[in-house]
C-alpha cells in the first residue's frame, strides 16, 4: 500500500480547518492516517541526526492509500477526495478543450514498435505553481512511476516547459550512439551510451536502466528543431526542464501498456489542472500513430454505470434507500442519482477513478462510505459437513504417536541448497529429480527438498549443545518432478526420523519403524500387504547398514546408519541412524 506524505499545515489549509491528531479516523473514507512525522524525523531515522540538523521540522502526515487509488497519491487529490466526502464541495468536472491556436502534435514513428510502442500527451495551459505545488507535481510523478507505472517499465512520464519547445514532436527510437543531448541536471551533452554508463552509479536512475539497456534502439522524443525532450524511461532533456515559473506544460507518457499510459496522463492533468487559469480544463494534444491514425488526448472519459440499489444492499448486507446509497456514492467521488423505477442508481465514473471496473467496485465504495464498522454482522445460513483432507488427517494422527514414541517434532524449510539434497548425501543433483528455482537470492533457496533428512540433520547441527540422544522426526511434503501432473511436479508426504547418539542405535530406528507399522495396522511379513525390510544400499548410508522398506507391495523408503561422510558434511560428530518413508501408500 503506497504511503503519501503531506505537510499537515498545507493539508489543513487546503481543507479549511484543523483536525485533532488523536482521531485519524475522522480524516475520511479510504485514506487512513498511518502516523505523523516530519522530514527531520525521517532523515534522522534513515541517516542519523547529523544530516537531519538542517532539515525541516514541519509536521508530515503519512497516509496509507490503497494501491489502486492513483487519484489519492498527492495532496491535491487527497484534499479533493476529502472535501467531496465531507460534502463541502461538488466533484469538479474535468474538461478537455481545443487550443485557440494550433494543437500540439506528437508523431510516433514505427521504430518504437519493438521497444516502447505507446505514447500519449496533453498540455496544461497557464498554470500557476508555487514551491509547494511544484514539489507536489514532481512528487506525484514519482509516486505514479513507483506504482501504476511499475518503476517506469510500463509507463514513463515526461513534463516539459512548452514555451522552450516548438512542435510538432516526434517520438522515435534510435541507436544509442546516435542520440546526443544535455540531460536534466548536467552541464554538457552526452550520447545515450555515455549516459547509460554515467547512470550506472546513480542511486535513483540505475534501477531503470535495465528497461532499455540491451535494446538495439532507444526511445527518444524530439521537437521540430531537433531538441531532445526526453529519452524515456530514463531521463528528460535539460532544455525543456520545468521550474516554479513555468506557465505552459507539455506532458508526454510513453509506455508498453496503452491503458495505463492513458490513466497516468488523466491522473496528472486532473490533479494539476486545478492550478490552471481555467480550472480543471486541459488542452488537448494530438498523437499520430505509425499507422497514420490520429488520436486526441487526454481522454478524460466519463462513463455511466447502472447498479440496482437492492444489489448494493444485498452485497453489503445493509438496508439503505436508493437515495441514501446514491448520496453515499456521490460522497465517494462517484456522482450518482436514482433514476428509472426508483431502484436504479446511475453512477458517473470520472476519469480519476480508473479503479472502478465492475459493479463490485461501486458496491465496495458504498460500503466504505457507509462505514465497514457500521455493518451489522450476521452468520450465513450455509449448512455444511466438514471433512478433513485424508492425508492431513493421517499426518495429524501420526504426529501425536511419533511424539508418544519419544521423538520430537522438527519443522524445517521446504527450500534448500542443491548441496543439501545432493553433494552432502553423496548423490548427484541430476539424480534427485528436484525442481530448481530460477531466481534464488541466496543458495538456501536453490531447490525444493526431495528428502526431509537434510533438514533434520541441520536441526541437530544447530542443537549440538542439547543432551543426547537427540530423537527427531518430521512429517511434511517433499517435491519431485513428475511429468504426469499439470505443473510437472508433485508433492509427496514423507515421514523422516533420526536418532543421534554415541551409538548408531539402528535397533531404535528399526523399532520405530515396527511401531509405525503397528500404528498403520500393517503386519510384519511380505504376505497380505505386510511389511518387510531387505538389505540394500544407498550413498547416504554406511555400507551393510542400510535396508529398503517394502510395505503394501511397494518400496516406501529406507532406513539405516548414516555414512560417516554424510555425518561429517552436516557438521555432526556422532553416529546417527535414520528412517524416511512416504506415507501416501498407507492412506
Amino acid at each position: 500500500m503506497p504511503t503519501v506524505s503531506v505537510k499537515r499545515d498545507l493539508l489543513f489549509q487546503a481543507l479549511g480547518r484543523t483536525y485533532s491528531e488523536c482521531r485519524p479516523y475522522t480524516l475520511g473514507p479510504t485514506p487512513l492516517l498511518g502516523g505523523w512525522t516530519s522530514e527531520k524525523e525521517i532523515i534522522s531515522k534513515e541517516q542519523g541526526n547529523v544530516k537531519a540538523a538542517g532539515a525541516s521540522d514541519v509536521v508530515l502526515y503519512k497516509i496509507d492509500v490503497p494501491a489502486n487509488r492513483y487519484d489519492l497519491l498527492c495532496l491535491e487529490g487527497l484534499v479533493r477526495g476529502l472535501q467531496v466526502f465531507k460534502e463541502r464541495i461538488k466533484a469538479p468536472v474535468y474538461k478537455r478543450v481545443m487550443p485557440d491556436g494550433k494543437i500540439q502534435k506528437l508523431i510516433i514513428t514505427e521504430e518504437t514498435a519493438k521497444i516502447r510502442p505507446f505514447a500519449v500527451a496533453a498540455v496544461l495551459r497557464n498554470i500557476k505553481f508555487t514551491k509547494d505545488r511544484y514539489d507536489s507535481f514532481i512528487e506525484l510523478q514519482e509516486k505514479l512511476h513507483q506504482n501504476i507505472c511499475r518503476k517506469r517499465a510500463l509507463v514513463a512520464i515526461g513534463t516539459h516547459d512548452l514555451d522552450t519547445l516548438s512542435g510538432p514532436f516526434t517520438y522515435t527510437a534510435k541507436r544509442p550512439s546516435d542520440i546526443k543531448f544535455k540531460p536534466l541536471n548536467k552541464t554538457k551533452e552526452y550520447t545515450a551510451c555515455e549516459l547509460m554508463n554515467i547512470y550506472k552509479t546513480d542511486n535513483h536512475l540505475k534501477h531503470y536502466l535495465h528497461i532499455i539497456e540491451n535494446k538495439p534502439l532507444y526511445p527518444v522524443i524530439y521537437d521540430s528543431n531537433g531538441v531532445v525532450l526526453s529519452m524515456p524511461p530514463i531521463i528528460n532533456g535539460d532544455h525543456s526542464r520545468i521550474t516554479v515559473n513555468t506557465r505552459n506544460i507539455f506532458i508526454e507518457c510513453t509506455g508498453t501498456d496503452f491503458t495505463k499510459a492513458k490513466i497516468v496522463l488523466d491522473i496528472i492533468v486532473t490533479m494539476f489542472s486545478e492550478y490552471c487559469e481555467n480550472q480543471f480544463t486541459v488542452e488537448a494534444a494530438e498523437v499520430v500513430f505509425p499507422n497514420g491514425k490520429s488520436h486526441t488526448f487526454p481522454e478524460l472519459a466519463y462513463r455511466k454505470e447502472m447498479v440496482r440499489a437492492d444489489l448494493i444492499n444485498k452485497k453489503v448486507g445493509i438496508r439503505e434507500t436508493p437515495e441514501n446509497l446514491a448520496k453515499l456514492l456521490t460522497r465517494m467521488y462517484l456522482k450518482s442519482e436514482v433514476i428509472g423505477d426508483g431502484n436504479q442508481i446511475e453512477i458517473e465514473i470520472p476519469p480519476t477513478r480508473a479503479d472502478i471496473i465492475h459493479a463490485c467496485d461501486i458496491v465496495e465504495d458504498a460500503a466504505i462510505a457507509y462505514g465497514y464498522n457500521n455493518i451489522q454482522m450476521t452468520l450465513p445460513k450455509t449448512y455444511t459437513i466438514a471433512n478433513q483432507f485424508p492425508l492431513n488427517k493421517l499426518t495429524e494422527l501420526l504426529r501425536h504417536d511419533m511424539a508418544a514414541a519419544g521423538f520430537t517434532e522438527a519443522l524445517t524449510f521446504a527450500l534448500c541448497s542443491q548441496e543439501d539434497i545432493a553433494d552432502k548425501l553423496g548423490v548427484d543433483i541430476s539424480a534427485t529429480k528436484a525442481v530448481h528455482i530460477s531466481n534464488p537470492k541466496t543458495a538456501e533457496f536453490q531447490v525444493a527438498r526431495t528428502t526431509l533428512l537434510p533438514g533434520l540433520l541441520k536441526t541437530i547441527a544447530a542443537n549440538r549443545k542439547m543432551p543426547l540422544p537427540l530423537k527427531l522426526f518430521e512429517i511434511s511434503d517433499i517435491v519431485i518432478k513428475d511429468s504426469n501432473t499439470d505443473v510437472g511436479a508433485k508433492n509427496y508426504r514423507h515421514l523422516c526420523a533420526v536418532y543421534y547418539n554415541k551409538n548408531p542405535g539402528f535397533e531404535i530406528i528399526h523399532g520405530l519403524l515396527d511401531r509405525i507399522m503397528q500404528l498403520l495396522d500393517v503386519l510384519p511379513g511380505e504376505d497380505k500387504g505386510g511389511y518387510v525390510i531387505k538389505a540394500s544400499e544407498g550413498p547416504a548410508f554406511f555400507p551393510g547398514r542400510c535396508a529398503e522398506i517394502f510395505a503394501r507391495g511397494q518400496s516406501v523408503g529406507k532406513l539405516g546408519v548414516l555414512h560417516p561422510d554424510v555425518i561429517t558434511k552436516f557438521e555432526l560428530t556422532m553416529p546417527c541412524s535414520s528412517l524416511e518413508i512416504n506415507i501416501g501408500p498407507f492412506l
Binding site: 500500500m1 473514507p29 490503497p66 494501491a67 489502486n68 511499475r150 501498456d257 491503458t259 495505463k260 444485498k314 452485497k315 453489503v316 445493509i318 471496473i357 465492475h358 459493479a359 463490485c360 465496495e364 460500503a367 466504505i368 465497514y372 464498522n373 455493518i375 454482522m377 450476521t378 452468520l379 450465513p380 450455509t382 455444511t384 459437513i385 466438514a386 478433513q388 483432507f389 492431513n392 519419544g406 520430537t408 517434532e409 522438527a410 519443522l411 524445517t412 524449510f413 521446504a414 527450500l415 528455482i437 530460477s438 531466481n439 533457496f445 525444493a448 541441520k458 536441526t459 544447530a462 542443537n463 530423537k471 511434503d477 499439470d486 505443473v487 510437472g488 511436479a489 508433485k490 508433492n491
Partner: protein, 508 residues
Amino acid sequence: MADGPVAELLLRRLEASDGGLDSAELAAELGMEHQAVVGAVKSLQALGEVIEAELRSTKRWELTAEGEEIAREGSHEARVFRSIPPEGLAQSELMRLPSGKVGFSKAMSNKWIRVDKSAADGPRVFRVVDSMEDEVQRRLQLVRGGQAEKLGEKERSELRKRKLLAEVILKTYWVSKGSAFSTSISKQETELSPEMISSGSWRDRPFKPYNFLAHGVLPDSGHLHPLLKVRSQFRQIFLEMGFTEMPTDNFIESSFWNFDALFQPQQHPARDQHDTFFLRDPAEALQLPMDYVQRVKRTHSQGGYGSQGYKYNWKLDEARKNLLRTHTTSASARALYRLAQKKPFTPVKYFSIDRVFRNETLDATHLAEFHQIEGVVADHGLTLGHLMGVLREFFTKLGITQLRFKPAYNPYTEPSMEVFSYHQGLKKWVEVGNSGVFRPEMLLPMGLPENVSVIAWGLSLERPTMIKYGINNIRELVGHKVNLQMVYDSPLCRLDAEPRPPPTQEAA
C-alpha cells in the same frame, strides 16, 4: 545413618548440657573424628525440629608435620648445637647430620657456633656459648598447647614462613535442643517397600519426610512443535465451524492458478522476480484447462461479466510460468473451479493451512516460506455482513473479541477489508488478517452461478504463534535453527486461554 551411635551420644550429651555444645569440642571429648560428629548433626537436622544447629567457623593455628617434630625434638639449630662436642666437629661431618644444613646457618646467625677454617683436616665447627635457649621449640610448644594467642603476630608469621605453623579454618556446629527434642530417635524409613506392605511393618515405622521444594524428574518423552500445535488448533477451529479441508499438497503452481485465475494482472508487482520464486526446471506448466484459460484471458484483456477488464495484452506464456505458490489462494481457486464444474451448485465452506513462498528480504519476522491460513465460504447471497459475522466467530475462538475492519485493496477481492484487533499488550490496534469477497471476474469465468458470492479471509500461522509463545525471532521457531529446548518446554496450545503474563525482565 541418621540414628547411628554418634547421634545417640550427641543427643544424650545435649540433654545433659546447659544450653548447647560445640561439635568440635564433642569430637575431642569423645576422641573421634570431627567429621563423624558433623555427619550425626546433619542426619539429626534432617529429622526436623529435634535439634538446632548453627554453623560457626573459627580460625585456629596448627603445627605442620615439621612443626610437630620441632616441638618434640627441638629446632634444627638446637639439634646442631647439641651435636657439637667441646673439641669441635668437622664441618663436612656436621653437614651430614639430618638437621645439618638448616641448623648450621641458623646456629651461625644466632652466634651459637663458629667455624675454624684453618684447622688441619678441613674447616671445623666449635661451640661459642656454653648453653642456649631453644626459643623456636618453646613457641611451637605453646601453639601445640592451644596457647597460640600468647605469641605475637610477628612471631607467628615468622613461624608460618618457616612452614612450621599453619592457620586453619574450622567449621563447627553449635548444637542446641530443638522444639521437638528427644533422645529416643528411632531410624526413619526412606521409602515404602513391598516387604513393609506384606508384613504390615509400615504401621509402626516413621518415614522420612519428602522435600516438596525439589523438582521432579521430567518424563522421557517426545514433543510436538509449537507452530504445528497451533496449526492443529486452527484446524480444529475450522472443523468445529463446519469447514472442509482443501488439498494443498502442491507447492509448485503455475502462474495461471496462482495469479491469472485470481484476476491478478500480468504486470502486477507481485509477479515480479523480486517477490516470487519462479522455476527453472520445470519452468512451465504442462497442462492448463484451455477453455477456462480462454475465458480468463478475455476477462483480463477485454473485460466481460460486467467488467471493463484490465485492457492489456494477456500472454499465455506468462500464465504457463511455474512458481512456488505465493499464497494458498491458488489452491482455493482450484477448489472453487472444481466446485463450479459440479452441477447443480452446492454451498461449501473450505479451509486450508499450508506453506507459501515469497522471494522476500528476510528479517526477524519474515522468512522465505511461511504458513497461510485461509477460510472460504461460497453460497448464494453472501454479504459483507456475513463475512464480518464469520470472522467474528472465528476470531472469538482465538480469544480475540475486539475487531475492527478497514478498507484495503486486493486484486482479487472487492470489497476488501483488513481485520484489526485491539492488542492489550501493545495498547493499539494490530492487523490480524485480510479478507474480502472474491471478484466476479475471478468467479464467473470458473463457471460459478452469477448469484453465488464467495467470501474469504487469510492470515499467517507464524504471527499468532509468535505472539502466543512470546517468540521474537522467527528463526527460533521455524527452520533448522530452532531452539529444541524451546520445543521441549512449550506448553499446550489453547488459543482461547488467557496468555501467561510475560516473564519480568531481569536486570542487566
